[in-house]
């Protein structure tokens, strides 16, 4: 019985245990509706016993033609669609897209808007990291307790988003040359209150999780991603930094006003799941620092460049690539203008997608149980992977 024959016959046979002459091999199709693939994602896994000998990620189940849609409509019309890329962090998606268009058009962003972008961006990072760590431990089988702890904090942040932008997840907040609405002083006070509570949450979370013996045994030394492989595969974000590579676009590009803030970039040294998990927690703490500084320094002023045209503008022919350090890694938008009202080419560089490409390298030789863990530590959102 060969491997391909098994797949064609599907379920018509008894569980296909394929003998390749080196022990029993079992082909399992994990997904697309497996409970821990974080959406509709499939992995064709070949197992020897419970050990992975081959893993092929299959995605595209959530493909929505995002990039082609972007070419068929005006620049502004794509902005709400970017919310749907990584639906956990819509605000950073907005930001990257706005940055790309601003580069293309050559627009300035007022001071206050920059501060607001930093605030909402870092809030997004906080809730994304909390959530991804929670989901990671949910994948480990912790029946949801850490996840719900993370959700509690995320809920407060989503409430903030709702009161600022009118939507909890699909915020659609940024515009080319600023932000859509200004934040009221009351909102800023509310943010200050929430941010003041965050260090306590981080401490609690860390105390709850980091020294748990089972967690350490499950994560340390699992899914090691060597720095060279990470760099050559284009992996970015916390995953890359967990492998020990100092690359944070906030530090590299100095986009926005990030060079005004004092924050550090935590680096891992093993590149395993535990490092990725810890790097996220440490980055969460750094984000809190940035938030505190931004909330202290935010100036008054307009949130929109008064000269900016939001609608019906026709950028000069040319191209621009705007990228930011999204919570999951480098999120970039590449736009080519041919002088019309629509982009000629609209391309997204999604961090989840690129980070996912090294999945097999990390999983080989590990157990089924580790695969879901490693997948969780990559922190993917299928909306972004499939676009």
């Amino acid at each position: 019985m060969s491997a391909s024959a098994t797949r064609q016959e599907g379920w018509s046979k008894a569980p296909a245990i394929v003998d390749y002459g080196e022990g029993e091999l079992l082909e399992v199709s994990m997904g697309p509706h497996h409970p821990s693939t974080h959406g509709v994602f499939r992995m064709d896994v070949t197992l020897q016993g419970e050990q992975i000998t081959k893993l092929k990620p299959v995605f595209g189940y959530l493909h929505r033609n995002h990039e082609k849609l972007g070419e068929g409509q005006s620049y502004l019309a794509s902005m709400p669609y970017t919310d749907r890329l990584d639906y956990i962090c819509s605000l950073t998606n907005n930001w990257a897209y706005a940055l790309a268009v601003e580069k293309l058009v050559g627009q300035e962003v007022p001071e206050r808007a920059e501060y607001l972008r930093v605030i909402v961006g870092e809030l997004t990072r906080v809730q994304n990291h909390a959530l991804s760590v929670g989901f990671l431990i949910q994948d480990m089988g912790a029946s949801g307790t850490p996840l719900m702890y993370a959700f509690k904090e995320r809920e407060k942040i989503l409430d903030l988003f709702e009161s600022l932008t009118g939507s909890r997840m699909m915020c659609n907040y940024m515009r080319f040359g600023g932000c859509r609405v200004d934040a009221t002083p009351a909102w800023l006070d509310e943010v200050r209150r929430v941010v003041a509570g965050l260090p306590k949450f981080a401490d609690e979370f860390e105390r709850l999780l980091c020294t748990n013996e089972i967690l350490m045994a499950r994560t340390q030394g699992v899914g090691v991603l060597p720095a060279e492989l990470a760099m050559s595969a284009g992996v970015t974000g916390p995953m890359l930094r967990a492998s020990g590579v100092n690359y944070d676009i906030r530090k590299v590009d100095h986009y926005g006003i990030y060079d005004r803030f004092d924050f550090k970039v935590p680096l891992g040294s093993h590149g395993d799941v535990y490092d990725r998990f810890m790097i996220r927690l440490l980055e969460l703490r750094e984000s809190i620092k940035i938030l505190e500084q931004a909330l202290r320094d935010i100036p008054d002023g307009p949130v929109m460049d008064p000269k900016a045209k939001i609608r019906n503008f026709r950028p000069k022919p040319g191209e621009a690539y705007g990228r930011i350090e999204a919570p999951k890694g480098e999120l970039g938008f590449y736009l080519i203008s041919d002088g019309s009202g629509n982009p000629y080419r609209y391309r997204v560089r999604p961090p989840s997608f690129v980070n996912l490409t090294v999945l097999e390298d990390m999983c080989l030789g590990h157990n089924v149980a580790d695969v879901v863990l490693i997948l969780g530590s990559v922190d993917i959102v299928l909306g972004e992977v499939d676009r």
């Binding site: 019985m1 008894a14 245990i17 394929v18 003998d19 022990g23 029993e24």
Partner: protein
Amino acid sequence: MSIAFVVLALLTLAGAMAAVTLRNLVHCALALAVAFAGLALLFLQLDAQFVGFTQILVYVGAVAILVVFAILLTRGADDGKAGTVFSRTWLAGLGIAAAVFALLGWAVLRSVRGLAQAAGTPAVTVENIGQALMSRYVLPLEIVALLLTAALVGAVIVAMYEKEGAR
């Protein structure tokens, strides 16, 4: 000849029959478990409580599971091949078995008159068994323990993967 005995005997024999005749190997193993359970109940009927429970614990809980595992680990070779599950010499085997049964049955039936009538229920407690194991039968017990250890080690070594250089 109580009804319970007939039922249990039929259950045991049916399980045994199924265990050696069914096509599907896992079904064979499950039928074997049924036969073992039936036997255990027969032991209970014979007032051998301890042996009956040991029978369930060892045979249903361990041997049947072992057989099932072995079947799963050795599948692939026999799967999908149509044809008989019986060996080339099945007729001779069946003949021998029938002859053996005829002989045994003849012997039993011939000696019915000489067989003992039902004695009173022997008052055997687990404590008796334990005392006996530790006094009269202590040497066999030790030997069995040694044998089990040797078998454990042997089975592990025999069944271990032969990987060059590994482990």
